[in-house]
Symmetry: C2
Subunit: 251 residues, 2 copies
DNA sequence: TGTATTCGTTATGTATACAATAGCGGGGAC
DNA sequence: GTCCCCGCTATTGTATACATAACGAATACA
């Protein structure tokens, strides 16, 4: 780094490169199927080749990249079924987390942040129709709710696995909720989702593991229906460029 | 590589280092909690520092290593609950795979290899009591059965996730079956396991998704009971050195 | 004109040199 | 005698140079 001496030393070059590349993929400036040039990545991230390569390996393990047999990496492409499977997969994992939380018991104090999330989302949903900005807040709050719920399982292996499953952006139900936010059905879907959130908290409080698990899986099925709906109405799908999906990805 | 000119060029140094390090961890020559010295890894693997570091990153993402905040990696340590959670987690994932297989339908031809596995295991179980060598074959066959079953889901994201969940050696039910192979209950457990295998094939054939899923989860719960049993009777636990677990790992 | 072979360029895989930081030990002072 | 500070050493993080393999283009031959 002689051309750009002012390097941010507070975060490692590897992490910096990883975040930068992930942003590029998620923002869509790197298209699915496209080969990633290390040299180009070096230029755009500002890190040197070694940390860039480390970041590429991490992103491959994360599932965003795919190794090319002859060498190098390409942005992974996903079929519609890959995405719906990922959503259902995540829901199944979250169902297990909810069951663990219910069976192992959580204190009222631990449920407090969940309920705050719930209330904040309720507040947002009072708007009719919901503005785009509110939808954006919803996505953040919803992600927070799911992360908190996952934590309640107190199971590091499970939390780890859910984190991995959530790395794929479309695995998150709210992603597609946002993608179709202008659809009239959207708000109704969000309200149903809130109902699910309420039920899962109640089930965990009452230590009903099976019910807690069932509702999270139902929640995921709602997200899958949501996805199908969004894909039928191609509108607003371009809000999430990374989701540009290929029909023939893995079939 | 001037000191050791005869390098095996058929496989990349990175992969070679990754396999070598994983073997060392699984064989127990690197103990849980122990810091991994890059320099030492360079000596034992024969690769240079760059591929070794790549391998370390991969193994961290795989879950066998843990990053140390101040730098470097250490072998991850697991608590008893971590292990039982991992088994249940894997069972849940395999349950989903079985359900997908049942719902999406598989041809009789695709079920053939599964049935062959089943028959081969039946053959082994006819021995009373089972020899250690037969147990070893059982572990291989059982792993094959589970891998084939996973494939039937035809869901790349799910298969990928199950592979990740299986990377931790103890997440595999058969690992602990073997660990306690000398226990009188062991053979009975294997026989029950076979019954599960039979039921899941039947459920998939008849396209009963819910039943297929339920039996795989039941199968995992059997493995958890199996684990508990093995841990009570500390005998033969040293057959799997990598399983040396720490009570305070993640609590 | 089409195909095959060869050469050149480019990009990846590997090795090593350099830099920076964290941990540890010794020495000094209170 | 104990505690703190300074310096050294060892190990990690980063950068770059080198080797090798793959892709493409151009030319020659059929």
């Amino acid at each position: 780094m002689k051309a750009v001496p002012e390097v941010d030393r507070s975060v490692s070059q590897t992490v910096k490169a990883q975040l930068a590349l992930r942003d590029q993929i998620l923002a869509g400036s790197l298209r699915p199927g496209e080969r990633i040039s290390e040299l180009q990545a070096v230029e755009t991230t500002g890190a040197s080749r070694t940390p860039v390569r480390m970041a590429l390996v991490r992103l491959e393990e994360e599932g965003l990249l795919e190794a090319i047999p002859s060498g190098g990496f390409m942005v992974k492409a996903f079929s519609e079924r890959d995405i719906s499977d990922s959503i259902e997969l995540r829901g199944t994992l979250e169902g297990l987390a909810a069951r663990f939380a219910a069976e192992r018991g959580v204190s009222a104090r631990e449920l407090e942040p969940l309920k705050e999330c719930l209330a904040a989302i309720d507040e947002l949903l009072r708007q009719v129709p919901i503005s785009i900005e509110a939808f954006s807040s919803y996505v953040t709050l919803n992600a927070r709710f799911h992360a908190l719920l996952t934590e309640l399982s107190r199971s590091p292996p499970l939390i780890r696995q859910i984190d991995r499953a959530s790395a794929l952006p479309f695995a998150s139900p709210s992603g597609f909720v946002m993608a179709q936010s202008a659809l009239p059905e959207a708000q109704q879907i969000l309200i149903i989702g809130q109902e699910h959130h309420r039920v899962v908290i109640d089930a965990i409080e009452n230590r009903e593991g099976a019910r807690a698990e069932a509702i999270m899986r139902e929640h995921a099925r709602l997200a899958v229906r949501n996805l199908r709906l969004a894909l039928r109405n191609r509108t607003h799908l371009d809000l999430l460029p990374a989701l540009a999906l290929t029909k023939t990805a893995t079939d």
